[in-house]
Symmetry: C2
Subunit: 190 residues, 2 copies
């Protein structure tokens, strides 16, 4: 297959192939894009780029701070939403760390991850972890506002720590959203 | 302009225009896409299609039920998260109703909304309203679980109503997510 189809080839202007044949051919080659399309390599933020690595570092840092601050409060296990926050940012930490390592490897061997299956997997993972982190942050924010504003009961609770952990979870979500949308965009614009 | 460029025209195979010229030309025409691309018309769920109208009806119905159930509880104004839920599903109701009317108009005049500015506007609106609705649903879920499970205090609160309103808000979010992702996909794949 690779012998009959060179990796870089001009479009046949005299007899252009049908769209379905061309798309099938692109999928088979996995690294050939017609010259009129933007390739995944051109989008900063997709796996294997320095922007992606920077975003992973931010996600990981905010998630770790959120996890550490919430886990060190003595009464977080008594509230379901706070337990869920710890679980969600824990998962976020592991995911961002893993993809950060993949980015470092890709940058060190100067290889851009343009495989559509890999990008699909990363997009799905980003979508799931960002949704879980955002849900946990919102639930914690609801409880924190209830304790602080509605009950005005911060004297008996660690309001500042709850607020810090919630804010860090939101920041982690802000950092993962560009990763998700850039990967999704690069998948759709293939 | 419309006289010099017919609305449907074949690509000039002997001397194909450059990608930038072609894209500019497509933007000017607003309803012509080169035959090698998938046009917005082909994606069900984008504005002006029956799938889009069905999704808008679902979003609107769930949001209205959520709003009605939460607004009829006597003690919702005492909790910030519940007030926020009422505001968020209220906005969701208005947005889904407006876009449902646009879809009905587009279907009645058999005109598909393929203008990229319109789709960008709808995608941004969908993204904002879905995020607000999801955040409100998560915050309300956190409070509802706190009252029901952690405090075990359902005797003095309308736990069933709070749970119903929260569940309906989540269902509304489930219905708006396909609208958002299909619009985003159609924008990216243009």
């Amino acid at each position: 297959m690779s012998r009959s189809h060179p990796s870089v080839h001009p479009l046949d202007v005299a007899a252009p192939p049908s769209p379905s044949t061309r798309q099938q051919h692109d999928i088979e080659q996995n690294n050939v894009f017609p010259p009129t399309r933007v390739s995944m390599k051109d989008i900063q933020g997709t796996p294997g780029t320095s922007t992606s690595l920077a975003l992973r570092c931010l996600q990981f840092s905010f998630a770790v701070v959120s996890l550490a601050v919430m886990a060190t409060t003595s009464d977080f296990p008594s509230v379901t939403a706070f337990r869920y926050l710890v679980a969600a940012v824990g998962l976020q930490t592991l995911w961002s760390l893993s993809l950060g390592v993949v980015d470092i490897y890709a940058l060190s061997v100067k290889r851009c991850l343009r495989n559509s299956r890999v990008v699909t997997l990363f997009t799905m993972g980003d979508g799931i972890t960002s949704t879980l982190t955002f849900a946990a942050a919102c639930a914690s924010a609801g409880i924190t506002v209830l304790i602080g504003n509605d009950f005005d009961n911060c004297a008996q609770n660690h309001c500042t720590r709850f607020e810090t952990a919630t804010a860090m979870a939101f920041m982690s979500w802000f950092a993962i959203s560009p990763s998700f949308f850039l990967n999704f965009w690069s998948l759709a614009s293939r």
